[in-house]
Amino acid sequence: MALIINDECINCDVCEPECPNGAISQGEEIYVIDPALCTECVGHHDLPQCIEVCPVDCIDKDPEHAESKDTLYQKYLKLTA
């Protein structure tokens, strides 16, 4: 699954520079994750870096974009090709 930022986001900008895929950006109200670019850090790190640093725990798995670890890895390979 890709990750999604919920409305508890405080726009602190801590997550954006941590994302190895450049998937995070400032949206209209809060920060957003582009599901096409998010690999949940598969291929880069053991744990999703945005979740690691988020001070308010506002990042979850996005049920709208369910993906297996293998799919995420394929995505990672495509993105880094």
Binding site: E8, I10, N11, C12, D13, V14, V53, C54, P55, V56, D57
Partner: protein, 503 residues
């Protein structure tokens, strides 16, 4: 006999050194040979050294901060003359950003930068085991917060009775405001909530009633903020008082509902606004939703009993008298209980220093490193605003001029208070040691002569404020129909002394 002394100089007696208690708590077995010895910045360095040297410890660790770096410099200089063999270790924000170090760093044997709990202990162990490291500067190792030993048992009974007790529910800050050292933190991490509340419960049962949270931002994670507030709500009464730093643009409903339940005189919020100018905010990487900030400050004032202490900073890069005036006027309109006007200070390591050249930020080389001039603000203007801030504390923040202040500020708060400030300085020649009764007389003169407030109105509001001061006798302005003279009466020694000081 202590082999390790942990010491610092606190700015005021009522303060307690939280950092030393963290270091002491995490010393492990070395605790048996360590002790904390606190002083005040008003103590004489030679007396401090005499006490530190009792029983000749092997190591003395100093907590170095902006308020004590000069005094610690004098203390360490004496110490190194008398007992050069004692190992001096420095830590704290003033020495954490080499190569930007104060002169005292030269005299020290070791410097532990950043967090100290793990690395200070390791260094002491090495020194006492005869394995002192070669390198002088040691980078403090961060460890997960849950692995730290709690400092709270090391508030002694005197601290509990007479001092502010500092507590910490989270460490670090996710924001990047460049004037602040917390901008260097990657993010904020909470201490385990249950454990923290258990520790608060112990402190409460020991008699602590004044809790000052040092969290950079108390209202980050709302579920945790609410849990902490509810813990204290259950213990309300008996003088309980809580002090928090909050960001103004994040007040979700759950938090609002909890804040509404607090009775009067139990909550104080430090609200950093700093500037409402969006251009400066961008320049210093401060993310603040100005509209939400205003809405929330209005809401807090209208719906809670919290004492609101809002901060502005003057002298930021790009700041001018005109846009500071605009920020001040916007903040006055929101009616916080106090507005703290801070003059920008240069903090060692703060990212703001990247603007020093482009904006010609010139600072006092001595602590408190206050700004003296910028590209856009001359030294004279800076001095005027320094006086403005000082008089604002005496007149605006003191709460003593509740009736007079609205007349003084009227429809142009900054412009009129600056006029007041300039006139008051011209008349008194000083911003210090103005006796209260004389201040009333001076204000009467400034209000009527410089702010065009009709004498009857000025007299009326100042009299009302004067009645509430508890001062004995009448101020001069009350004895006359209009203003005649501000000469002090014979009996008023305080006035006489003040005039001698002022001129």
């Amino acid at each position: 006999m202590p082999q390790i002394r942990l010491t610092t100089l606190n700015a005021r007696y009522i303060h307690s050194a939280f950092g030393l208690r963290y270091l002491y708590a995490n010393l492990g077995e070395l605790q048996n040979v360590a002790e904390i010895l606190e002083f005040g910045i008003q103590d004489r360095p030679i007396d401090i050294v005499e006490k530190l040297l009792q029983h000749r410890p092997k190591i003395i660790g100093f907590g170095v901060y902006i308020w004590n770096v000069a005094e610690i410099g004098s203390t360490v200089a004496l110490l190194k003359q008398i007992a050069p063999e004692i190992v001096v270790i420095l830590g704290g924000p003033e020495v954490s950003h080499p190569p930007d170090l104060p002169p005292v760093a030269e005299l020290a044997d070791y410097i532990v930068t950043g967090v100290g709990e793990i690395s200070f202990r390791a260094l002491c162990e090495q020194i006492l085991n005869g394995e002192a490291p070669d390198e002088k500067i040691i980078t403090g190792v961060e460890s997960p917060l849950e692995s730290l030993v709690s400092p709270y048992p090391y508030y002694n009974d005197e601290d509990v009775r007479n001092r502010i007790v500092y507590v910490e529910a989270s460490r670090g800050c996710p924001f990047k405001c460049e004037f602040c050292l917390s901008a260097l933190d990657v993010t904020a991490k909470p201490f385990t909530l249950d454990r923290f509340l258990d520790e608060m419960d112990v402190l409460y049962r020991r008699g602590v009633r004044h809790f000052k949270f040092i969290d950079r931002t108390f209202n980050l994670k709302i579920a945790a903020s609410v849990a902490i507030l509810e813990f204290f709500l259950e213990r309300m009464g008996d003088g309980l008082f809580l002090h928090f730093e909050v960001i103004p643009d994040h007040l979700p409903d759950r938090l609002k509902q909890t804040l509404e339940k607090f009775p009067p005189a139990t909550l104080q919020f430090e609200v950093g606004v700093q500037t409402f100018d969006p251009v400066i905010q961008r320049l210093i990487s401060r993310r603040q939703d100005n509209e939400k900030t205003k809405e929330n400050l209005r809401w807090l004032k209208a719906n809670t009993h919290a004492h609101i202490h809002a901060d502005l900073i003057f002298g930021l890069p790009g700041d001018t008298l005109a846009n500071f005036a605009a920020s001040f006027d916007q903040l006055v309109a929101l009616q916080p209980h106090e507005i703290q006007l801070g003059i920008l200070k240069r903090l060692r390591g703060a990212p703001l220093n990247r603007h020093n050249e482009a904006y010609r930020l010139r600072y006092n080389p001595e602590p408190p490193y206050n700004i003296l001039s910028t590209r856009d603000i001359g030294f004279n203007e800076m001095q005027r605003i320094n006086r403005f801030a000082r008089y604002w504390d005496m007149i605006g923040n003191s709460g003593r001029f509740a009736e007079a202040l609205p007349l003084i500020l009227a429809d142009a708060p900054f412009e009129r208070f600056l006029r007041l400030s300039d006139a008051l300085y011209e008349l008194s020649g000083s911003t210090w040691k103005i006796a209260l009764r004389r201040l009333f007389d001076l204000l009467y003169r400034v209000m009527t002569e410089f702010l065009a407030i009709p004498t009857v109105e000025a007299k009326h509001v100042l009299e009302a404020d004067y009645q509430k001061t508890g001062e004995k006798g009448l101020a001069s302005f009350m004895k006359t129909e209009g203003y005649e003279t501000s000469k002090p009466s014979r009996q008023n020694q305080a006035n006489k002394r003040q005039q001698a000081f002022g001129h």
